[in-house]
Subunit: 209 residues, 2 copies
């Protein structure tokens, strides 16, 4: 099995937001699709490691904002590269960048082109992820900017760290699986944090060239 085939599947990119009590949170997801037309059904798969997952599971309500090609990398860093367990993502998030929908949950208005308010009708436990089967209760188009696909993000939004290539002395290279940053040296320090995307050592892979 050539698992690189998995990269041939196409995805949009979205901010999934939720509110539970006084906690407001959101994360980046890539799996919002219309799975049925009658009744109109949107499915969303969320990694259980995301705090937003637990909030959507508990409340049965979320918003999905569709990221557009006008989004900048900061949107992905803000909602994707830090956890709602550690930080309050809406504490320092500019009020001009989001609004609150009728369901009481914020949706993102900067770098997005539409949003959906979703009500969870059913869930399927898929192991690492929960699949939320949802009924849209509201939806709006925000701009006519094209939607950002995962490929567009990889090619145009994600910073491209220069690849080290082969070092003259044939040293080991460690590459960040998240953003592609490469670091040269035999052993990556345990407390290493990627200077570009802030991911830890666990997200680096050893490249043997």
């Amino acid at each position: 099995m050539d698992t690189k085939a998995m990269f041939k599947l196409s995805y949009g990119l979205f901010v999934c937001t939720a509110v539970q009590g006084s906690k407001i949170n959101g994360c980046i997801i890539n799996t919002a699709i219309q799975a049925a037309s009658e009744p109109n059904t949107i499915t969303v798969a969320i990694n259980k490691a995301n705090y937003t997952h637990d909030m959507v599971k508990a409340t049965g309500v979320c918003n999905v904002s569709v990221i557009s090609e006008e989004a900048n990398f900061d949107l992905f860093k803000h909602f994707g590269f830090q956890s709602g367990r550690d930080v309050d993502k809406f504490a320092d998030y500019p009020a001009a960048n989001y609004k609150t929908a009728e369901n009481g949950v914020p949706y993102i208005t900067a770098g997005t082109n539409a949003y959906f308010s979703l009500k969870v009708k059913d869930t399927v436990d898929l192991g690492s992820h929960t699949l939320f089967i949802c009924e849209p209760t509201a939806m709006e188009v925000l701009t006519s900017v094209p939607s950002c696909t995962y490929s567009y993000y990889q090619d145009n939004i994600k910073p491209k760290p220069e690849a080290v290539g082969t070092t003259p002395k044939g040293e080991t290279i460690w590459r960040c699986r998240i953003c592609g940053y490469e670091w040269v040296g035999e052993e990556l320090p345990d407390d290493f944090i990627c200077p570009i995307c802030k991911h830890p050592k666990a997200d680096f892979e050893k490249i043997i060239r």
Copy 2:
């Protein structure tokens, strides 16, 4: 609710193939995604109106071939604009355009860049569609050509019938929802078939300009 927001969701495009007894069939779908990583899970939503749907439901096995940007409109017409109930889609399909995977089901090799063999682990009835929750049992990359997204298909592969615009006499225009073909006249005949995509009257909408 502005239902145009639904068009902001992004999709790839795929040929889903199945074999049941002596019947070999396939249809175009847009909803194959990785919904979980551990265990690796691919979900596929198929419209119940598709004959392939019934075959996958009965056999629990299918292949999903990822359509690439090199696909031509004929691939979509062949698998998307006719039903396996009426025709044998593999009877006249060139043998050079497909191969048979280990699971005994064909996968498409022309205009595609990868394929997956899927085993159905669970199904969810979503009304118009069934969601098939699948484990990939095989997958291969076929070419490095980028995957065809639904937007790419709309912009680059689907023929663009010239819009009639406004007629001098202000006559009614009927537009095919599938391909955009426009027909001028007060009443579309009941047996009208779109000359471009072969869809029936039911898929036309009346345009009041």
